[in-house]
């Protein structure tokens, strides 16, 4: 089966060690996490983790089933790129020690609708919000000036429209396998 990029949204109880429990599953089963982001939700007792990884459909289904076995996991949803909005924040520190260079960077920044969040005599720090492609394209251009450091939040994703992750309770996840939900 073909391997492609998947986004997993995981709701977990906000208790000590959850992140390590979740990430351990990935490492144990030999999957590489491309990106991971985590933060609390509207309910401070609940954390939402977004993980982007590569794998075929069967692998992802097995992984989701294994994740649901963890008691700290409340729900797991595999989001497709079509049905979900994805965002990532990237901060890039670029070398720009002359006015010309700084002007050039500022131009690029405005084309990309990115913003400058810090400036010094030697450097500019650029912040860009968007999907992965946009960030990559920007970094590509900035590479000419000399990128000093890069930091990314990891991709977060949310479904389009009325649907939410709360629809995937563990019961409904098992429904596919014939669980009686009554």
């Amino acid at each position: 089966m073909e391997s492609k990029e998947h986004t997993l949204s995981i709701l977990v109880e906000n208790t000590p060690g959850v992140l390590s429990q979740v990430s351990r599953l990935f490492s144990r089963k030999g999957y590489n996490i491309e990106s991971i982001a985590s933060g609390t939700t509207e309910d401070p007792k609940v954390t939402r983790i977004t993980i982007v990884m590569n794998g075929d459909d069967a692998t992802i289904a097995q992984l989701a089933a294994q994740l649901r076995k963890l008691l700290c996991v409340i729900s797991v949803k595999v989001l497709s790129t079509e049905d979900a909005v994805q965002r990532e924040l990237v901060l890039v520190k670029v070398k720009a020690d002359t006015k010309d260079k700084r002007d050039e960077v500022l131009q690029i920044v405005s084309v990309f609708r990115a913003s400058v969040v810090d400036i010094s005599r030697e450097t500019l720090t650029v912040s860009i919000l968007g999907d992965e492609n946009k960030a990559c394209a920007l970094m590509d251009l900035l590479a000419d000036f000399g990128v000093l450091e890069v930091v990314r939040t990891g991709i977060i994703a949310i479904e389009r429209g009325i649907r939410t992750i709360y629809e995937d309770t563990k019961e409904s996840g098992e429904f596919n396998y014939g669980k009686n939900v009554l």
């Binding site: 089933a65 649901r68 309770t169 019961e171 396998y177 014939g178």
Partner: protein
Amino acid sequence: MINGAQALMESLKREGVERVFGYAGATICPAVDALAATDIAYTLVRTEQNAGHMASGYARMMGKPGVCMVTSGPGATNLITGIATAYMDSIPMVAITGQVQSYLLGRDIFQEVDITGACAPFIKHSYLVKDANDIPRVVKEAFHIASTGRQGPVLIDIPIDIQQQMIDPVYPDSVDIRGYKPSVKGNDNQIKRVAASISAAQKPLLCVGGGLFSAKAQEELITLCESARIPVVTTMMGLGLLPRNHPLNLGMIGAFGTPTANRALNTTDLLIIAGARAADRAVTSPKEIASRTKTVHLDVDPAEIGKNFSTTVPVVGDVKVILDQLISHHPKAQSEAWIADLQARRQAETQPAAAPGAGSVTPSYLMRTLGEQLDDDACVCVDVGQNQIWAAKHLPMKHGRFLTTGGLGTMGYSLPASLGVKTAVPDRQTVVVCGDGSFQMFENELATLKAMGTDVKIVMVHNGVLGLVHQIQYSSYSGPFGVDLTGSPDFEKLAEAYGIPGKRISDDGQVDSAIHDMLTASGPYLLICDVDPMTTTSMT
């Protein structure tokens, strides 16, 4: 007010705990002290791993969690193998570990280990208790988690200061864990599909494993296979679900299974896997089988579906309930021709025979004779190695239990497990089958056996080598190395030192009467059977 340790004991009592297997140390002393004041029985083991195995043997006979309790640091790390063994075989267990003072956690002080961290990969769930007020809830949840859904071990790690903390405990009546809602009933539509598939099948086959013991679904299995006319094969963990001589029992599948069982697996047109993960040792080519035949998987753990086997019709739920649901549809397969053919093949399989005068005992004959002489409902606790495979292949089960560690294959399991069995069902005949290597992994527990004053018979396959590894090295590597058990003691004398009578035999001619003498002796007994180290598991 009472302290946390007393609340722990009261919580255990409320869960119906009658016995704890343990080993004390500084950080568990408050709990041991509190236990001493209750009527909960306590068994002192000789190494912590075996507290786990004893709890496992107890749990498997009682159908409820076994409890073990050890100290922090080395006590906890020694217990790890017991926990992992229970996890791999889905045995319900609650393990309690002492821990250093909660305010010193993380400073690597004397006998501190992160045991919840260490056990994470092979435990169903674990708790590190940081407030004694949580103890009643944690214990209630731990027993619930260990004994429902796919059963397994749960760890409760309790720092000593928490055991000593004074509280007014509140004992909950019920459990509500947001992230834990195991399925019970199978989906009705799926059940109908399975029933219809059975009725349409000509060569249906049930492949059953240890999950049916966990679900206590033996009777349902017998009803279904007989009424729907479906022959049955088992994994090693499923041995004993049906008596060996049941007309629909084709025996064990896998590399060490019967030819008829494997043939059935490879020619069935409807494979129903129930309560089995059908891992590599049982099914060597799952892809091949799944590509050719329709497969139904009945399991309580949704993550098992499709893990080792791609499944046409999955049903998640308690297997006992699912089998009952299936039975209510009265499915009936068109399988008489297939059954007749398989039964003929099963009949034609060669029976192990004695070869007297060879100067060594024939293992298959030994197992067959042992099985024939055992009580109908005897419990056989089997270790790991060639002895295990010979027992699995040749020891005819009647209505007893065959307890072995199919998942982790932990040498040294058999005797401690048998002691757990004895605490659960003291009146049932209990026999250990082990090798001379595995014996030396548990021999310290002869003291526990003695102290318990209980009656376990031990049959040792004495071949002077780590037999199964020896066999593999012969067939697949440059030859035997590092598997010679030279230096082993005179086992008869060793047993005698513990006050346990023993006998050594070295010929098939002695087998029958030696087993008889062992089984009729009162109290524990060690029967040492000299076996030629060149005997392999493929010989009959």
